[in-house]
């Protein structure tokens, strides 16, 4: 299906060009018009959405705040000048007026469909309403305009760059021709949940989760317009306009749109469209959704090769018309300036802003926009700008306010809130689903943590939100990173200046157990159902002073936060701890969190975790095969309900360790890729001396054969020793002892073996048939057998050896006690 479309498109473009080539006379004009004019109608007729008609250039920050006089006039006007790229032609040294500029066009030949380009150049606003690109050909006579369009399209068609090769790896699935494998339904869901609709229009039909409306929205619902204005809620009540998409299906292919979505900054270095950290599959899904909803997408743009003469003409025009002032292309470095901004006379009637003449472009602006622009030119010279001004201006340019509130400005608008959800629809209030307010953020985050927020590889901090913080190139956000701390009056005092006391981590663990664990995970572990910001590494992200103040009284720094104070009226909820000393208690929390990687988890979390992964034998023994430090990589651990456990080393075929109390935690063995050893949780560990239960010079005489589970669930270990096969049944006898019954069957009659009943650095006879080693481990044999044994001294060990003659079948019983 897709292939067929691609081919048709190619044929269509080719035939059009062939026809144009033949008609290089005055006769070709009517044909071009015939081709151009009807297409916008065709392009829109399939579109089920009501087209958003912005008659004027759409600059989000101006629409939302400037046009309602909610930001200073100088900011409003400067914002328009920069976003409309006025200064790309009319130079200015005011940094605020630095032009946004347009996309890089170096690869436009295989990114954008020629037919769309043709229509767009003929009237940008008609094809993409709200575009900030001016109409550059508006003043050309019709015939010349048509010719110019063909030449520009031909030139742009030669601007081809291969799409970047995506790196695949174990973490990065990249399917062959992934852009053909997008899923419209998944794309719809992504578009409406990860942040696209923070700027762009949601589908009218998309149904969101029903969530509790914010208190303020509930209030607004009940007021009339007049009351809303009186209460200063006009901004909160307003519908925020969307950045229009234009005719995406006519413009992009599945591939070119998916590639743009994956890395918008490659084509649009100004990052007004940021990266939403998409995987290739997600990019394909969203591209499929965006293109399939208003037509039949093509999978690839098929470029055609125009005549050289037309290309050359297009190249000249590209400079002549000042396209190259805003757009980077390959092979053109020329720049054609116009009169510097300072020298422009804004009083004249004819300008780019209104009734253009001569070689001027035409911007679609309304009177309010023009007034704002003129204010910058006519108003006072720029004064010293505060850090706060710098921050808010950059946030206006990047439309950070589309998501974030700061100093009363911006935030997710009233009508967009439903698209901001929590993963799994957990009710955490607005704080748990909306992007955070940026008030005081410069006081809170250390510079490297602030910078990390924007970096593409940083993992999300608020995993419970479906919205994603976009990533930005450093160059785009460095102004924010440098001005935010000063704007917010950062206090960089170090730990020693802020905190007090020492050796407080243990008390800190107790503190966090009281309250923090109810809402926060700790290094990936949490109480059941708890979602929130993980407190791991918090001490390297935030300034100590902010931490102190925030814990002391969260509401002082964060309005209406759900985070409660643990020090109501300045008094601790835990008077029993550290004498109720508030400063010491906050210092203790910091001390604990700072060392969290090496500290035990908070007790409540530890308990909850154990409930899932600690093996607690109740009615039957539990077996676990795992790696253990003492019992090796072939360990078989057996835990008994009576609280006595052992581990057998199936490689060396020997008992390795026994202990009492708690058995083992199985999570590492069951679910961890890096297979950490499982070590005894209990106490009273006793190690068994290296070597076997039978004296032998050759370890190959021992062969492990597995085990059998008896009806009561107790395993009997099976192995061979020389000519004997041994069934080794170990169970818990009375009073916490292990009783080991060996059934030895020899394949030859009258086999002589020597039982090594016990071994240790020093063995002491502690009963008529018992020896105890230096750990306190006693081995008891039946008296008749004990009497035949003797104590032998080997290198640095004493061994209790008993010679046995195995006639067919022999049973030996050993009892371990410690």
């Amino acid at each position: 299906m897709i292939h067929a479309v691609a081919v048709q498109q190619g044929e269509y473009s080719l035939s059009l060009l062939t026809r144009l080539k033949t008609w290089r006379s005055a006769d070709w004009l009517p044909l071009v018009c015939a081709v151009i004019c009807p297409i916008p109608v065709v392009g829109q007729s399939n579109n089920p959405l009501p087209p958003f008609v912005a008659d004027t250039a759409m600059v989000s920050g101006f629409e939302r705040f400037g046009s309602h006089a909610e930001i200073p006039e100088r900011q409003a006007g400067s914002l328009l000048i920069s976003e409309l790229s006025c200064t790309a032609c009319h130079a200015s040294d005011d940094e605020w007026l630095e032009p946004k500029r347009g996309p890089r066009l170096n690869g436009v030949g295989n990114v954008v469909q020629q037919d769309w380009l043709r229509r767009y150049l003929a009237d940008p606003h008609q094809v993409k309403s709200g575009t900030t690109m001016p109409h550059l050909l508006v003043l050309l006579p019709d015939a010349e305009r048509a010719e110019a369009i063909e030449a520009l399209v031909a030139f742009l068609n030669t601007q081809r760059e291969p799409f970047p090769e995506l790196k695949a790896g174990g973490v990065n699935p990249v399917v062959h021709e992934f852009w053909k494998r997008g899923d419209q339904e998944r794309g719809t869901r992504l578009y409406h949940s990860i942040g696209c609709v923070a700027c762009h229009e949601p589908d009218a039909d998309y149904e969101t989760v029903e969530s509790k409306p914010s208190a303020i929205d509930e209030l607004i619902e009940q007021l009339d317009q007049e009351e809303i204005v009186e209460l200063g809620l006009a901004a909160a009540a307003r519908r925020v306009k969307s950045v229009p998409h234009g005719d995406l299906t006519g413009k992009y292919s599945l591939r070119s749109l998916a590639m743009m979505l994956l890395d918008p900054a490659r084509v649009r270095p100004n990052s007004r469209m940021p990266s939403l950290r998409l995987t290739p599959q997600e990019a394909a899904d969203i591209a499929t959704y965006l293109l399939a909803r208003s037509g039949t997408p093509v999978s690839d743009v098929v470029p055609v090769t125009p005549t050289q003469a037309l290309v050359d003409r297009g190249r000249d025009l590209f400079v002549e018309l000042r396209c190259s002032n805003c757009h980077e292309v390959t092979g053109i470095k020329n720049y054609k300036p116009a009169k510097p901004l300072a020298e422009l006379d804004f009083a004249v009637r004819s300008s780019c802003l209104e009734e253009p003449s001569a070689d001027m472009a035409r911007y679609r602006l309304d009177e309010m926009q023009r007034t704002a622009i003129r204010f910058v030119k006519n108003g006072e010279e720029p004064r010293d700008r505060s850090d706060a001004d710098e921050v808010s201006f950059r946030m206006l340019q990047l439309n950070c306010f589309g998501c974030h509130e700061r100093d009363g400005l911006g935030g997710v608008g009233r009508f967009r809130k439903p698209y901001f959800e929590t993963v799994g629809n957990v009710d955490l209030g607005d704080e748990g689903r909306l992007p955070p307010s940026l008030g005081n953020v410069g006081r809170k985050l250390r510079p490297q943590a602030l910078a990390a927020v924007f970096q593409p590889k940083s993992p999300p901090h608020r995993r419970y939100m479906t919205i994603r913080m976009p990533s930005y190139p450093t160059s785009v956000v460095e102004l924010l990173i440098s001005h935010l701390p000063v704007a917010d009056g950062v206090d960089k005092s170090d730990e020693l200046q802020v905190f007090t006391g020492s050796k407080l981590a243990e008390a800190g663990r107790d503190m966090v157990n009281t309250g923090c664990v109810q809402c926060h995970p700790f290094r990936g572990e949490s109480l059941p159902g708890v979602v929130g910001i993980d407190l791991n590494e918090v001490t390297s992200r935030v300034y100590p002073r902010w931490f102190y103040d925030f814990i002391h009284n969260p509401n002082d720094l964060k309005n209406r936060t759900r985070m409660p104070s643990f020090f109501p009226n300045g008094r601790s909820n835990r008077p029993d701890l550290l004498d109720g000393n508030v400063a010491l208690q906050i210092s203790a929390i910091w001390a604990y969190l700072k060392n969290l990687e090496h500290e035990p988890l908070p007790e409540k979390i530890e308990t909850a975790r154990s409930a899932n992964y600690e093996l607690v034998p109740t009615d039957k023994p539990i077996v676990l095969r795992t790696f253990m430090n003492v019992a090796g990589t072939h360990a078989i651990a057996v835990g008994f309900p009576q609280g006595v456990h052992y581990a057998f080393d199936a490689e060396q075929v020997r008992m390795a360790i026994a202990w009492k109390g708690r058995f083992l935690d199985a999570r590492g063995t069951w679910f961890e890729r890096f297979t950490p050893p499982a070590n005894p949780l209990g106490e009273h560990e006793v190690m068994f001396s290296p070597g076997h239960l039978f004296v032998s010079d050759d370890p190959r005489e021992f062969q492990f054969g597995g085990y059998r589970l008896e009806a009561n669930g107790v395993p009997t270990l099976l192995y061979r020793y020389g000519n004997c096969s041994i069934a080794d049944h170990i169970e818990v006898a009375d009073e916490g002892t292990l009783k080991r019954t060996l059934k030895i069957v020899a394949s030859t009659f009258g086999e002589d073996v020597v039982l090594r009943a016990h071994a240790g650095r020093k063995l002491i006879a502690s009963g008529p048939s018992t020896y105890t080693d230096e750990q306190g481990l006693s081995v008891t044999l039946p008296e008749n057998m004990a009497s035949t044994g003797s104590l032998q001294q080997s290198d640095d060990e004493q061994e209790w050896l008993i010679p046995l003659k195995v006639d067919g079948s022999t049973t030996v019983v050993l009892e371990y006690q410690w």
Binding site: A4, G170, P173, A292, R625, T626, N629, T633
Partner: protein, 518 residues
């Protein structure tokens, strides 16, 4: 008060809106028997399964004689599932048969019992009283090195045509600390690995390990072809240029040099390797390293997946569609399944691979064919990553009865290739050389991770002859190169009803160019 409302799309649904995934579903339909999403990211250090239900991270699968499905799961258990053929599978029952196994990565019904390879041994699970709970966990064979490194996975067993049991052993990666104490004391060439790491072995009925071939990195899939010969898949990484399929046979060496650590062990079938070339194109590396053998099939990276896993022979005699006798190979990262055609040239296997199906719910680790021909697919992506919305589970792939238009076979000829299609072709498009594109390339044999495609060339397709029955096309090609992979794209070929190929790509590993016409 949170309610999930159904997402209703009132927008016109377009046929092409779901791309190839949707088209594949027209021919091979997916049924989810049980899938679940873990509570954490697949690579999380604190990985946790979904809060309720069984962590069905399937690592081994076989059907019992009574038709029930036995599965091993990674946490170390074996479960017996009944009702898996129901559609919808609303009444599947689960019974725990065995537990306390150490990461079992295979499962085989054998002589009334179940066999599985754990990290440290091949184990026979016996249910003496027939209550569906194993009573004996008997050690059949052990003795390979287990240093404690996570990457030392052990796989199998599977049966070859002679009834022999095969297992494969992963190589360890960058061993440290206590792990080094468990490496071979006098390893050849100074490599530090546990015994038989990176080897494929046969286990005799007496439990003796018989080393057969070596040089494996991550041989997670084993399987016999229709002739009963045994194959394994390997995964891209150090020494392994891209994913591959190999015929296991005595004395041959595949990729990973560190498997030579066991060269001087009693029973080794590899001898007298003094130096391993590092950084040569494969054909030159083979000239210098005489035991080195190319894979029967390379799977070019990304184009044909990123991590090859299990091997399943289609023995359905047509119940699973037109590919009887071919091999299906699991794909972990891209959550898919590929297809392989093999032929013998001068006594050695080589052949082509083709895309088959993507869009499974998670990483494909295991596959087994049911009695009705449908394919049961075991999924788990823990520790790595994969496409798909789930973390683990069991899905079933059922042929809808509609034959996809595919390149069924691609055979080497002295002067080109012969393609066989699943449906008759339109002679005009199939007879046009412009309907085809071909490139050829090989890989570097080196110790670094993976290899780019190197020495790429474009062999010229000089003619395309359509057979009388219209099922076959003979491509005459100038510039075939031995030991190069030949990538074919037959985008222009249409069936007699005008359909394009569901998958126009085929990748032939041309180790040998046949000398005579067969």
């Amino acid at each position: 008060m949170v309610t999930r409302l159904l997402i209703t799309l009132l927008l016109p649904m377009l046929v092409c809106s779901n791309g190839r995934g949707a088209e594949e579903n027209d021919y091979y339909r997916l049924i989810s028997i049980s899938t679940a999403s873990a509570a954490t990211d697949s690579r999380s250090k604190n990985w946790k399964p979904a809060p309720d239900g069984l962590a069905l991270e399937i690592s081994g699968m076989d059907f019992l004689d009574d038709g029930r499905l036995a599965v091993a799961i990674r946490k170390g258990e074996v479960w017996i599932l009944d009702g898996v053929y129901d559609d919808p599978p609303s009444d599947v029952t689960y019974k725990r048969f065995a537990s306390a196994l150490h990461e079992p990565l295979g499962l085989l019904q054998y002589d009334g019992d179940l066999l599985t390879v754990q990290r440290s041994e091949l184990t026979r699970l016996r249910d003496l009283d027939r209550d569906d709970v194993a009573d004996e966990y008997l050690t059949i064979a052990k003795g390979w090195g287990v240093t404690g490194h996570y990457h030392e996975y052990a796989y199998g067993p599977k049966l070859d045509g002679d009834g022999k049991l095969w297992i494969t052993l992963n190589i360890g990666l960058g061993l440290k600390g206590a792990e080094l104490k468990r490496t071979l004391a006098d390893a050849a060439l100074g490599y530090r690995q546990g015994r038989w790491r990176g080897w494929g072995m046969i286990v005799t009925p007496e439990g003796k390990l018989v080393p057969v071939c070596a040089g494996m990195r991550s041989p997670s899939g084993l399987g016999a072809n229709a002739d009963g010969d045994m194959f394994y898949t390997d995964q891209q990484g150090n020494w392994v240029a891209t994913n591959s399929l190999h015929h296991m046979r005595p004395g041959v060496f595949f990729h990973h040099a560190e498997a030579l650590a066991s060269m001087n062990e009693p029973g080794s079938t590899i001898h007298e390797v003094e130096k391993v070339p590092d950084g040569l194109p494969l054909p030159q590396a083979m000239a210098e390293f005489k035991q080195l053998r190319p894979p029967a099939v390379w799977f070019p990276y990304k184009k044909m997946g990123q991590s090859a896993t299990d091997i399943m022979l289609d023995e359905s005699a047509g119940k699973f569609g037109p590919f009887t006798g071919q091999l299906f190979v699991g794909e972990f990262t891209q959550a898919g399944i590929n297809r392989v055609f093999l032929e013998k040239v001068d006594g050695e296997y080589q052949g082509a691979c083709f895309p088959f199906r993507l869009g499974l719910a998670s990483a494909v680790l295991r596959m087994a064919q049911g009695a009705d021909g449908s394919m049961f697919v075991g999924l788990t992506n823990r520790g790595w990553s994969s496409l798909g919305d789930a973390s683990y589970g069991l899905q079933r792939l059922v042929w809808t009865g509609k034959t996809p238009f595919e390149i069924k076979e691609m055979k080497a000829r002295p002067d080109g290739f012969e393609l066989e299609f699943t449906l008759p072709v339109d002679p005009q498009s199939a007879g046009d050389v412009n309907s085809y594109r071909m490139t050829s390339y090989t890989y570097l044999y080196h110790s670094t991770y993976g290899s780019d495609e190197i020495e790429t060339a474009t062999p010229a397709i000089t003619s395309a002859e359509v057979s009388k029955d219209r099922y076959r096309v003979r491509l005459h090609i100038d510039g075939l190169r031995e030991l190069f992979l030949h990538e074919l794209n037959a985008t222009g070929v249409q069936s007699t009803s005008g359909e394009p190929l569901l998958h126009p790509e085929a990748y032939y590993t041309l180790n040998r160019i046949p000398k005579t016409k067969n």
